[in-house]
């Protein structure tokens, strides 16, 4: 079972938390992530938070692509490619 969605924790009351995904809110159980805090992002599956997202790691991964962005854009310019070439 694989569908899990990242959402931000707005408030915590005991074993439950209200989370927000782009303005849509839901109450879920945080029994499996007792370490969670307000402002954290959690992965939600089937009404439960199954993990707290490591935002630093997420940013690292995204940063990697942003850096590659500049590198490849320069490389492409030098080779005369257009950055919007279709991928095939």
């Amino acid at each position: 079972m694989c569908l899990a969605v990242p959402a931000r924790v707005l408030s915590i009351q005991g074993h439950e938390a209200e989370v927000d995904l782009s303005g849509v809110r839901r109450v879920i159980s945080v029994v499996l992530t007792p370490e969670v805090g307000v402002g954290d992002y959690v992965l939600i599956h089937s009404g439960f938070a199954i993990n707290v997202l490591d935002q630093e790691e997420a940013e690292e991964t995204l940063k990697l692509f942003r850096e590659l962005d500049e590198f490849t854009a320069t490389m492409y310019q030098q080779q005369g490619h257009s950055a919007s070439d279709e991928v095939h």
Partner: protein, 339 residues
């Protein structure tokens, strides 16, 4: 006998029925033909009216009967008005038949009927005939409504699901998935910081504005049950053409996307009750799009694809990543996935 809920006697045809009709239906729907309260309404077609008539019928059993942005009554009026508008007809008159469950609060019925009157007024139609039955508690889900409507089709209009031609543009009148997700979210207890309300709306005014801009509209359809994907497949099948849709161009509100992620649903299969899909001749595209965007119900209208002569009867989606895949019709009900 309680006088604030519907009881079986309300459907018996006697005094209670007459009082109900007088105090609720006729009071809200009031118009000369209905007020006459004969067994049938009679009217003489106006000389200016075209020769062709359009006729449509629908039934409404939605649960819950009241939802953000509307109710079963508004849905019923819009549904039939829109069916007529989708063949290019100007809707004139509606009938409305009610099957009421014993125990339905009168206040609820009145609220629904008032909503229907307001929607009919906005659409410029009159409700000229109706019927009321009451069934035992448990035999109906609060209220079922059935509507039928008649309209006139101006000369020269030929709008049909079978008329799409390769090269035509596919336009949607606004963001999709709103009604379906508003209902599902309401049922599942999702809250919204900006509440998601049904887009339920009468579209005949929009269609009139579009036809005034250019009559080269080949197909019109409102993507209700089954969503945008199903409607596009219907047109592709009827016209025996291919349709290619650019996923990046399809307007989907962020709240609908987020609700879909949370509920495991796909917005392409969610119902819309205030949107239409138009397939128009390419050269008419700009004029029609402008007219739509100038109308309150078409402000976010967008070209989302085109009709092709390849993949006949199939709809192909160009994904946000540039790959192509088939966008199939809905099979069964859309069941939310956990996997």
């Amino acid at each position: 006998m309680s006088n604030d809920t519907i009881v079986l006697a309300h459907g018996s045809g006697g005094r209670l029925t007459h009082n109900l009709i007088r105090d609720v239906f006729v009071r809200h729907f009031s118009n000369p033909m209905l007020n006459a309260q004969d067994d049938a309404a009679i009217w003489t077609p106006r000389p200016s009216e075209a020769a062709r008539l359009a006729f449509s019928t629908d039934s409404y059993v939605v649960q819950p009967i009241f939802f953000p942005g509307g109710d079963i009554g508004k849905l019923a009026v819009c549904g039939t008005v829109n069916d007529l508008a989708m063949v290019g007809a100007q809707p004139l008159y509606l009938s409305a038949s009610f099957i009421l469950e014993e125990g339905l609060p009168l206040a609820d019925l009145e609220r629904i009927v008032a909503s229907m009157a307001a929607t009919a007024h906005e659409a410029g139609v009159e409700i000229i005939a109706g019927d009321t039955k009451v069934v035992d508690r448990g035999s109906a889900d609060q209220v079922f409504i059935s509507t039928a409507g008649v309209g006139v089709v101006p000369d020269g209009i030929a709008i049909s699901g079978a008329n799409a031609k390769p090269g035509d543009l596919v336009i949607v009148s606004g963001p999709i998935g709103v009604h379906g997700l508003a209902i599902m979210s309401h049922r599942e207890g999702l809250q919204f910081s900006f509440p998601l309300a049904s887009d339920c709306a009468p579209l005949n005014g929009l269609v009139t504005a579009m036809l005034r801009a250019d009559t080269q509209i080949h197909c019109l359809r409102d993507p209700t049950r089954g969503g945008l994907a199903t409607t596009l497949n219907e047109i592709a099948g009827q016209s025996e053409v291919g349709i290619e849709i650019d996923e990046a161009e399809v307007p989907i509100p962020e709240s609908v996307q987020a609700a879909c992620e949370l509920l495991g649903l796909d917005p392409f299969y969610a119902a819309n009750e205030g949107k239409l899909v138009a397939v128009v001749a390419a050269e008419a595209g700009t004029a029609i799009l402008d007219a739509m965007q100038s109308h309150p119900y078409g402000q976010a209208a967008a070209v989302i694809g085109r009709v092709t002569s390849t993949h006949r009867s199939r709809v192909v989606l160009r994904t946000v990543l540039g790959a192509h895949r088939i966008l199939d019709m809905l099979t069964g009900a859309q069941l939310p996935r956990i996997c």
